[in-house]
């Protein structure tokens, strides 16, 4: 009744009505909206897209970064060919990145999940445990590197002293190029575990407790409830954790740079990029090509995974 009456007494002619509704914002609203959308877009384009696309362009050139832009010479795919065939530091770095990724997916992720499940059981002082375990996440990776350098110090460090080998036959955890990557991974994993734990904990907190009760009534024990109900329901969190882990694994840089500038067994692709672009050699084109390779690898991982997830979502 009321609806009918208002539309009848509406003074606006029907033809204009549609147009009016489409732009039902006042002038100030539009300016505010334009600023709120425009400024971040501009910043995003200027700080993300321009450098990314410039890197892609520069990767096909040779430039020492000094002097005018007319010094840039186009070299085609030569940088890429040389990186893959004639750059001795490249393949070890890729291998280290892959080890890094595999380690982060296997250990800190599962350990973080385990901690989250334990902390979700309403233990006493759970807040304190959560804070302690999350603390490494807020530290910069460079800081983590510094802390673990002290831990791994051959004669005075905690690790060798706890093992009781500080005096007799100290292991140089960070100096030995055969084992230092694993020593650093433990430090990186220490930080990553807290991150994963927090993500899973958030997922568990939003989990409908009656699902667990239903499973218990259906006859599931704790193990079955977790693997058949809790874990599959946490799927969105699993996606986030995996994407974050891949990103962390590929962009790892500061921790090795803080320890020994990424040399002697700790080479990573990100270190090579930095060395070539801001290092002494200053080969901008070469460094950009390395950066593009890393970008493509990351995109490959993430796009494949997301496509799979969304396809599975659609099917259901």
């Amino acid at each position: 009744m009321t609806v009918l009456q208002t539309s009848r007494t509406d003074p606006t002619p029907p033809a204009r009505k549609g147009r009016r509704r489409a732009t039902a914002l006042s002038g100030t609203d539009r300016i505010v909206l334009l600023l709120m959308v425009g400024v971040p877009t501009l910043l995003h384009v200027a700080l993300v897209w321009v450098p990314t696309l410039s890197s892609v362009l520069l990767s096909f050139t040779s430039w020492d970064g000094i002097g005018d832009l007319d010094q840039i010479t186009f070299v085609g795919t030569r940088n890429y060919v040389d990186i893959f065939t004639a750059y001795p530091r490249f393949w070890p770095a890729v291998q280290h990145n892959l080890i890094w990724l595999a380690f982060l997916i296997l250990l800190p992720t599962s350990f973080g999940l385990l901690l989250a499940v334990l902390l979700d059981r309403q233990l006493k002082f759970t807040r304190i445990y959560q804070s302690v375990l999350y603390l490494p996440v807020v530290l910069a990776l460079a800081m983590v590197g510094f802390i673990w350098q002290l831990m791994y110090e051959p004669n005075l460090g905690l690790v060798n002293n706890v093992l009781g080998i500080a005096q007799s036959s100290p292991v140089d955890w960070l100096g030995d190029s055969d084992i230092n990557i694993y020593a650093v991974l433990i430090a990186a994993g220490w930080k990553h575990t807290g991150y994963v734990m927090l993500l899973y904990l958030a997922g568990l907190k939003s989990f409908d407790p009656s699902l667990k009760e239903a499973a218990a009534l259906d006859g599931a024990n704790g193990w079955q409830t977790f693997w058949k109900v809790t874990f599959p329901v946490l799927k969105p969190i699993n996606v986030i954790v995996l994407v974050i882990t891949v990103i962390e694994g590929l962009r790892a840089f500061d921790i090795v740079y803080a320890i020994n500038r990424g040399r002697n067994g700790l080479e990573l692709v990100s270190v090579l990029i930095t060395d070539n672009i801001i290092g002494e050699s200053s080969r901008i084109g070469w460094g950009s090509a390395l950066a593009v390779i890393l970008l493509v690898i990351s995109l490959g991982f993430i796009i494949t995974y997301l496509v799979q997830v969304f396809r599975r979502e659609e099917r259901t």
């Binding site: 239903a214 218990a216 259906d218």
Partner: protein, 366 residues
């Protein structure tokens, strides 16, 4: 199929003072019975149900299913199935997987699971949806899947925790009838929790009314309506609620607005022998009528008329002592009085008046 008994069962939540969510509950449910636990929120009805399910500890007393004491048995050992308010369907499983989950855990052969799921799905009109995930279903369909998951198990007791509260009004009435019919057909002992007294009255063979964790009365819907054990049950059961007013007692009846409403002799003598000077006087809206001008009646000013079609509810103010109290009268829908009109109301029959103790609320009439 089995009978269920609560024997002095209590659930006490720690705190200062500790909260007795369910207090010394004694309740026997017969084999195949449909018992409804009803009460306002915080009355302990859901806690009582969860104690039976094993999801809540029993701090005092015992609970028995069949002849077995299950007080300390974990949920999976109790042979019960529960329908949750939120349905608690596993979101990553299809309808068929949801319904067959319990059987799968029990190690039932696949063909047998499929058979039983198909049978239950046919009963609930879910056959078309067996391959869908819960999120692709409507609220009513989800509710039926939750029912189906319980049925497939063939448990000895069904527990239902407000299973209709997430449905819209029309669907709720429909599903209400379906659940009652299904229970009749399966003959499984069922305990059903609701805060809605209409659901309780229409579905239950017997209804147990709880308040503050204490059982107030457990009886058939008819008996609850006709002979509420105390003023709380009288006010809780029935819609619109019974008119309950504390009024002074006169030698022949109850004094309202200058006139004396005659009461049954047994009731009156019960009140007088208890040495009371006033009583809580209860009369249902349909036990009141509009009186003609010549008759003796209680003066009432009409404040609101709710027309329901077949009949109308007249709300009005009646003077009692120094204040004024609201009364509701159910009248014929065709000739309701006007707003602001002064009318006279009278009690249809003295036997329809309920009397309660003004302090304890206990029923005085028998």
């Amino acid at each position: 199929m089995a009978e269920v008994s609560y024997v002095g069962a209590s659930r006490v939540f720690a705190g200062s003072p500790p909260v007795r969510a369910v207090d010394q509950l004694d309740l026997d449910v017969a084999d195949g019975e449909f018992l409804v636990l009803v009460g306002p929120s915080g009355s302990g009805k859901s806690t009582a149900l969860r104690m039976l399910a094993g999801l809540e500890d029993v701090d005092e007393g015992t609970i028995q299913i069949g002849s077995k004491d299950v007080t300390n048995v974990p949920p999976k050992g109790r042979d019960i199935a529960m329908v949750f308010q939120s349905y608690a369907l596993y979101p990553h499983m299809t309808v068929a997987e949801n319904m067959g989950f319990a059987l799968k855990l029990r190690g039932t052969p696949k063909t047998q699971i499929k058979e039983k799921v198909a049978e239950a799905a046919a009963m609930l009109d879910l056959t078309k949806y067996l391959d869908r995930k819960p999120k692709a279903l409507s609220g009513g369909q989800r509710q039926r899947v939750a029912m189906g998951r319980a049925i497939v198990r063939e448990p000895s007791v069904f527990l239902m925790d407000e299973p209709l509260s997430n449905l819209d009004a029309k669907l709720r009435v429909e599903t209400r009838a379906n659940i009652a019919a299904l229970q009749q057909r399966l003959g499984t002992t069922t305990i059903y929790v609701t805060h809605d007294q209409v659901e309780a009255m229409t579905m239950g063979h017997r209804v147990a009314v709880l308040k503050d964790g204490i059982l107030q009365q457990c009886d058939t819907p008819r008996a609850l309506y006709d002979k509420p054990a105390n003023a709380f049950v009288a006010g809780f059961i029935g819609s619109p609620a019974m008119n309950l007013k504390t009024v002074p007692l006169a030698p022949e009846g109850a004094r309202l607005d200058g006139i004396v409403v005659p009461l049954e002799r047994t009731a009156l003598s019960a009140a007088q022998s208890a040495g009371l000077s006033s009583v809580t006087f209860g009369v249902r809206p349909e036990s009141l009528r509009l009186a003609s001008v010549e008759e003796e009646g209680i003066d009432m000013t009409v404040e609101l008329v709710e027309e329901l079609g077949a009949d109308a509810l007249v709300h009005g103010a009646v003077k009692i002592g120094d204040g004024s109290e609201r009364f509701v009268v159910r009248v014929d829908g065709r000739t309701p009085p006007q707003l602001g009109q002064n009318v006279k109301i009278a009690v249809r029959d003295a036997s329809e008046v309920h009397l309660f103790h003004p302090e304890t609320g206990e029923r005085l009439t028998d």
